[in-house]
């Protein structure tokens, strides 16, 4: 009778999440279910979209490091399971996700807030657990039965520049039970690789202390009410299962330090380009703890102040978002407009501080020139911008800066 029922279920194609075996099990049957083929296709689509938008970060120092870390943490996959692959996403949002293709994506934003190699390892271990346990497929099968609407996010997100989040979120959103399983399995991988188990609650504690806007909304890596409960059960699990796990974090490797410096700088650049001035300040605060190049920090502090002075409306919008006071956007904008001169002066003092630390720092000359241009100090603008242009033949923004110089010269000639 039981066999008959099973046969009937199989014939009807009624696959259940409970039947899905992890990739460590030789009977995983990867790709056997129609539903899995469907979500694999969608995963490839999401990956291609990330790639075509230049969102897959290609810096070898960073990518190789993360891949080596993942290889150290991952359990042995059974034969015919897909290989585990790790990618770094050029996005300043604090987020990470795993797709059913066994591909893990870690945002630069998340890498920049992790305070140690062990904390970054904890996040990667959590994502590896999602892959190994095939939570993407299990969720898809559950969703199929419950007829939950999905992908609506794609259209809602259309036009935000973060379209990939729609597809990715629908493929990488898991139940509370699956999240807990990923935490516990991840903890196991972390300890097996020689890292202290406490790194996992510690990194979740970091996420809880983040400012609004730093994490992707709805992501498990954003601050939310269940975060504290999660830290509590992780601590309980560590006390019961891993009492001997060292409490002290091991010293970070030299490779980690080199990787972190690059990640922090790229994160600052992305946030500046998106005019997220307050978040950039936050990134600079973090970078200050680690960086060996204070001139670079001074330069970026100058860029933030210049950005705020140049676009008070963007600064007002940013402040309104960060303080969760959308109705006050105009008020904030007016305040930034009133402080324009003060912000330009602050920018100049940061650029000068950068030049004091490193006299040949070309970007600081550029910054000084741009402020002088904005303030109508034509002779200063020409001098500083031409110094910048003379610093390197291969400047990416040569055409842009040359146009500014041309405009300033035209303006000076007319006066």
């Amino acid at each position: 009778m039981r066999g008959f029922v099973c046969a009937l279920l199989l014939a009807a194609g009624a696959a259940h999440a409970a039947d899905v075996k992890p990739f460590t099990d030789p009977n995983h049957n990867f790709g056997a279910l129609k539903e899995e083929v469907r979500i694999l296709d969608l995963s490839v689509l999401a990956h291609d979209e990330l790639k075509s938008r230049g969102l897959l970060y290609e810096d070898d120092v960073v990518v190789d490091y993360v891949r080596a870390l993942a290889a150290k943490l991952a359990p042995t996959f059974a034969r015919y399971a897909p290989p585990l692959e790790v990618f770094v996403v050029r996005d300043a949002l604090v987020n990470a996700f795993a797709l059913p293709t066994a591909r893990i994506y870690i945002n630069l934003g998340l890498m920049s807030v992790a305070e140690s190699e062990a904390q970054l390892a904890a996040v990667i271990a959590h994502e590896i657990a999602h892959v190994v346990e095939r939570h993407g497929l299990k969720t898809a099968l559950d969703r199929k039965r419950k007829i939950i609407a999905s992908h609506v996010g794609d259209l809602l997100l259309f036009g935000t520049g973060l379209v990939y989040l729609g597809t990715a979120a629908s493929l990488a959103s898991y139940s509370r039970g699956e999240e807990k399983e990923a935490d516990l399995k991840g903890l196991e991988y972390l300890v097996n690789a020689g890292y202290p188990a406490t790194a996992m609650p510690a990194v979740f504690d970091v996420f809880e202390s983040m400012q609004p806007g730093e994490g992707a909304r709805g992501s498990v890596y954003a601050s939310h009410p269940e975060g504290r409960q999660r830290i509590a059960y992780l601590n309980e699990t560590i006390a019961s299962r891993y009492p001997d796990s060292p409490a002290e974090l091991p010293a970070d490797s030299a490779q980690y330090g080199a990787m972190r410096d690059r990640v922090l700088e790229e994160n600052i650049r992305i946030r500046l380009a998106r005019q997220r001035f307050e978040l950039t300040d936050r990134s600079l605060e973090r970078a200050r703890r680690y960086t060996a190049d204070p001139a670079l920090l001074e330069y970026y502090l100058g860029e933030v102040r210049r950005g705020v002075a140049e676009d008070p409306a963007a600064a007002g919008r940013d402040r309104a978002q960060m303080s969760n006071q959308p109705k006050k956007e105009k008020e904030f904008t007016a305040a930034f407009e009133a402080e324009r001169t003060k912000n330009y002066a602050a920018a100049v003092s940061h650029y000068q501080a950068a030049l004091g630390l490193r006299p040949d720092f070309a970007l600081a000359h550029r910054g000084l020139g741009m402020v002088a241009y904005a303030e109508g100090r034509d002779a200063d603008a020409i001098l500083a911008l031409e110094t910048y242009l003379a610093s390197d033949d291969d400047l990416k923004d040569r055409r842009y800066v040359e146009r500014i110089v041309k405009t300033v010269k035209r303006r000076a000639a007319n006066e």
Partner: protein, 276 residues
């Protein structure tokens, strides 16, 4: 009850008449222009059309909507071609450039393109792109997409970059049947009914100065139909190129029956709502 209803209806009709009268006396447009557009166009000769960003979904009864990737690719190619033709007709030299190959070889260029798109999506909200405004207010939008545009324009050796974004949907037979049944039920209960469109699309186009990053011109259009031809309507208001050697430019704008700006263009609020 019926008195209240007829009273409300009368007020509604009166409001519509007032609005229509206002529209009749004050020409409106969905176009947006930079205050310095005339000066900026003196430096614009060569333009490049960035890869169109297209998102099309089939809305299905189960909620597991399907992305129509083949249709996306086809419509993207059509949009890019139609945009190039329309700009060529307005006197611009359209630079052919294989962005797909270039961004495959250069992740930084791909990222710059993405930054341009993100910046456009930020400023279009500020500009309320798609909303009709009085014609005389269209040249009040001093927006910039930042320095990333420069990188894109440089790669193609162009003076300006054209951005095209398209969103569309259609509905499966099951979804249409469900909506039809809902409409009939509502009709029985309320005495009136509204049929939801079975497909729709929306397009936004922008011309961006490749050096300064200033958004020189933008417009949008929507329709209860899924097709790339919509872009021609959105492009109807694009200004003709200005020849720097001849300030009183002789560029001939083809008589395509479209006014310089398109007051009849469907505004955002009128575009079909895919999630309806």
């Amino acid at each position: 009850m019926s008195r209240i209803t007829s009273g409300a209806r009368a007020i509604g009709i009166a409001v519509c008449i007032v609005l229509l009268a206002a529209c009749a006396t004050k020409p409106t447009t969905t176009a947006r222009e930079h205050p310095d557009i005339d000066t900026a166009l003196l430096d614009v000769e060569r333009v490049v059309v960035a890869p169109a960003i297209v998102s099309i979904e089939r809305i299905v009864f189960s909620g597991e909507n399907e992305r129509l990737t083949a249709q996306e690719a086809r419509i993207a190619a059509e949009l890019e071609a139609a945009t190039a033709v329309a700009l060529g007709a307005r006197g611009y030299e359209v630079v052919p450039f294989d962005f797909n190959a270039a961004r495959e070889a250069d992740a930084d260029l791909a990222f710059a393109l993405n930054q341009v798109t993100e910046a456009f999506n930020r400023v279009k909200g500020d500009m309320q792109l798609g909303r009709a405004i009085p014609e005389e207010k269209k040249r009040q939008f001093a927006e910039s997409l930042g320095e990333a545009v420069n990188q894109v324009a440089d790669a193609a050796d162009a003076d300006a970059v054209v951005i095209v974004q398209f969103g569309g949907f259609d509905k499966s037979g099951g979804q249409q049947a469900k909506e039809m049944a809902s409409s009939i039920l509502l009709g029985v209960l309320l005495g009136s009914t509204a049929i939801q469109p079975s497909e729709g699309s929306y397009v936004e186009v922008a011309l961006v100065d490749g050096v300064t990053g200033n958004l020189l011109w933008a417009d949008a259009a929507g329709a209860a139909k899924l097709g790339s031809e919509l872009v021609v309507r959105a492009l109807a208001s694009v200004p003709a190129d200005i020849d720097p050697t001849d300030p009183a430019s002789d560029v001939v704008v083809p008589d395509d029956g479209q006014p310089a700006s398109a007051p009849e263009t469907l505004a955002v609020e009128e575009a079909p709502n895919p999630s309806a």
